[in-house]
């Protein structure tokens, strides 16, 4: 077997898929390693066409699932009967918690690109300049202008649907036509526009094709089934499985190896470069070394960081590229699960068609200059939410039971609306993950321990999130407005970030402005671990842009013989 390639990509999620596609299309023989089994688009989506009555109990999280997936089940939504097979067995893939951390994972080809929320937002200079301005952590080594062309580049391929707003703090993407607001959301939009000058309600920006097709393995317009997390037989939302991996495959340059658990990046002291990676075959336990000129770690924030921590040598006793000591620190997520809900009167003769896999979005309106600046906390939050019919509570109470009740529950029910805030979490040095070498996994590799929490700035912001949500619903005249805080622990946002941060100074950061390890130029890390701050936007789109940009850099450097 040939064990030498031009490039190695570790991981096949959002970032790994992009790295594979870009490297292969630029002519590099590329080995793509994935720790989990193969998932082939669209044949490996066994539940894609099942209705809720085709499951034992209506597509819920069963007790049997809870036993296998006690931590995945903390979300209370991702791993129902139709999707649990795409999430890890927590007993087979254990981790440890000094403080509660909800680590939600899918180990298979495509990773979480198959399972993601698909909300896609650009970051702006309000984000890239934030750390420097606030004196928090370290400065991003890039600005919006560095990433803007790469956002455009990936968006044209992915297909992002949304509405152009021209906001400086939430730059527009290359949009396909937006999905539609429903009658009640439209009412809220108008009421908010009337009362506020600082905020706007728009449809969510999502990685769904809303018109035409996109390249890949059969990528068509969204059919509005809202069964995305099961895998989409129409290829309507962006996943590695439907898009980037088939593109890489089509070049003839990709070797995809599933069931390959990478344990470390190999280092050569003389050349001061990585020579390749060591992996364990998940099924046979065979250990194999692969060689390459360049290595892309795209295994997810926590996994890529773990691999670097495991990559010890005389030169790097504390993990590869960790001269700064920042590796594993500054762990971030987005805090959420709070906001407000209300009942809506009227519109009883109105309804909607299609199960829109999307909701409304309210872009950040705090700390973006002038009157929006707060004295009590820094950074900001956005809201996701939506309105729907399905409120039978009062109707059921009134009908009691019997024939009238039966008729009533077959009708659409009353309108309800709700929104939940997604807030920025600051990069705190003491929010960290580290390896426990005493507790090993089934391959003898150390397990990860989490020690992270939200702090004062986030807690103060959370109060504002609830109050502002309720105020906006009140502005629209909605009834029975209730604020809610369902509680949050780190990880639940499924936006882990920051554990190998980018920065200008090798003494305080792990990666440079091109996502290269400061100390090992031919190792790039382009997943969430490079994030210097979190913003409040859903981050996947930024990982895609960073990855495409990093590959462009790597290939140019290879040509210049710099790697």
């Amino acid at each position: 077997m040939n064990n030498t390639y031009d490039a190695i990509v570790v991981g096949t999620g959002i970032s790994g898929g992009w790295a594979a596609k870009e490297l292969c299309e630029k002519g590099l023989k590329t080995l793509v390693l994935e720790r989990g089994p193969m998932v082939q688009h669209p044949v490996d989506y066994p539940t894609a066409n099942m209705d809720k009555w085709d499951f034992k109990a209506g597509d819920k999280i069963t007790q049997e699932i809870r036993k296998r997936q006690p931590k995945q089940s903390r979300t209370n939504y991702v791993n129902t009967e139709s999707t649990s097979h795409f999430f890890v067995d927590d007993n087979k893939h254990p981790y440890n918690e000094d403080k509660r951390f909800d680590w939600i994972r899918g180990y298979h080809v495509g990773g979480r690109s198959l399972l993601w929320g698909r909300q896609s937002y650009r970051m702006s200079d309000f984000d890239f300049e934030a750390n420097a301005k606030d004196g928090v952590a370290v400065d991003w080594p890039i600005r919006y202008k560095d990433l803007a062309p790469w956002y455009s580049y990936v968006e044209k391929y992915v297909g992002i649907s949304g509405e152009k707003l021209g906001l400086p703090h939430l730059p527009d993407s290359e949009f396909l036509k937006p999905m539609q607001l429903n009658c009640v959301e439209d009412e809220l939009k108008n009421a908010v526009a009337k009362k506020y000058t600082d905020r706007v309600i728009t449809i969510g920006r999502v990685a769904h094709i809303t018109e035409g097709t996109k390249p890949g393995l059969g990528r068509n317009t969204c059919q509005y089934r809202n069964r995305c997390r099961r895998g989409c037989p129409f290829g309507a939302y962006f996943s590695s499985n439907s898009s980037t991996l088939p593109a890489a495959e089509a070049t003839g340059n990709m070797t995809l190896r599933p069931n390959s658990v990478v344990s470390e990046v190999l280092y050569d002291t003389d050349s001061k470069k990585a020579t390749g990676v060591r992996m364990i075959d998940a099924e046979t336990n065979e250990v194999i070394d692969f060689k390459a000129k360049v290595v892309f770690l795209c295994a997810s924030t926590v996994a890529s960081t773990s691999i670097l921590m495991q990559s010890t040598s005389d030169r790097f006793p504390n993990g590869m590229g960790n001269d700064s000591g920042e590796l594993g620190h500054n762990l971030m997520d987005h805090h959420f699960r709070l906001g407000a809900t209300a009942n809506v009167e009227g519109h009883e003769d109105k309804y909607y068609t299609g199960r829109r896999p999307n909701g409304i979005y309210i872009p950040r309106f705090r700390n973006i200059g002038g009157a929006t600046n707060r004295k009590d906390y820094i950074r900001g939050y956005g809201y996701q939410g939506g309105a729907s019919r399905g409120n039978w509570t009062e109707i059921v109470n009134e009908m009691g039971y019997g024939q009238d009740l039966k008729e009533a529950v077959m009708a659409p029910g009353g309108w309800r609306i709700g929104m939940t805030g997604f807030g920025e979490t600051l990069p705190y040095h003491d929010n960290k993950m580290y390896l426990d070498h005493n507790k090993k996994d089934q391959w003898g590799l150390p397990t990860v321990t989490f020690d992270a929490e939200i702090k004062e700035n986030e807690k103060i912001m959370r109060k504002d999130i609830m109050v502002q949500a309720a105020e906006m619903l009140d502005a629209a005249g909605f009834k029975n407005i209730e604020q809610f805080d369902k509680g949050y622990s780190m990880g639940l946002g499924i936006h882990e970030m920051g554990t190998a941060r980018m920065g200008r100074d090798p003494k305080t950061s792990v990666l440079n402005k091109y996502n290269q390890l400061h100390e090992v130029a031919n190792v790039y890390v382009t997943d969430g671990s490079g994030m210097t701050s979190a913003g409040n936007q859903n981050p996947s789109l930024t990982y895609m842009a960073l990855t495409a940009r990093a590959v462009d850099h790597a290939v140019k450097e290879l040509k210049k013989m710099n790697l």
Partner: protein, 214 residues
């Protein structure tokens, strides 16, 4: 034969054929001859009471009712697969309270003697009570549930616990009804592949006043 399987077979090859109530009736006649169902979470008598109660909550009209749709069987499976031990115990306890009040007030001796009319009287007492009374029972039951966490011998208002059971059974019956294949595919508005999304449409034009089943 299994009605659900039969319906599925019909739906499979011949999507153009609508399953009419007559066809359903025919399918159900197969089912009524095989009443060999053994519940996991109820005794035979308890299951009979629960079935009757569910059939009172969702009775047969021109659309099949709870028993015909096998919602009690679904409920038993739901309790088994979805609920944890504590919630399962809560339901068993609630049903016990409900039955003991029913026996006392009807003057009957055993569960098997409770007929549909007895159960109807009980359901009406709880679910058609005025809202103030319902609120009071709700509060009493909450206090009881809280107290039993610390003291399992806590004395409950039996009526309040029975009331809470009736409310819970109603909610689970509605859930079972809406998770039913026949109802979802033939009675409510069924669109497995909508193909388009429109934000604001006329209800009558879109579905004739029905809710989407998915």
């Amino acid at each position: 034969m299994d009605r659900r399987k039969a319906l599925r077979t019909i739906g499979f090859g011949t999507t153009a054929i609508t399953v009419t109530p007559a066809v359903v009736g025919m399918l159900q006649s197969c089912q009524s001859q095989t009443s060999s169902f053994t519940a996991i979470h109820f005794s035979k008598d308890e299951f009979s009471v629960v079935s009757q109660l569910m059939d009172l909550i969702i009775p047969k009209t021109d659309i099949p009712g709870a028993i015909e749709l096998k919602l009690p069987e679904f409920l038993d499976g739901f309790i088994d697969t979805i609920l944890n031990k504590k919630a399962q115990k809560g339901i068993a306890n609630g049903l016990n309270h409900f039955i003991s009040v029913s026996l006392e007030e009807s003057g009957k001796e055993s569960v098997a003697d409770l007929n549909r009319s007895d159960l109807d009287t009980q359901l009406a007492k709880y679910l058609k009570a005025d809202q103030e009374q319902q609120k009071t029972w709700g509060k009493e039951n909450k206090a009881y549930q809280k107290a039993t966490k610390e003291d399992s011998n806590h004395n409950a208002s039996v009526t309040a616990v029975a009331y809470a059971f009736a409310v819970q059974l109603r909610s689970m019956t509605i859930n079972a009804f809406k998770t039913n294949e026949y109802i979802g595919e033939n009675i409510m508005a069924y669109a497995p592949i909508p193909g388009e999304q429109k934000g604001c449409v006329d209800l009558m034009e879109a579905t004739g006043g029905k809710a989407w089943s998915l």
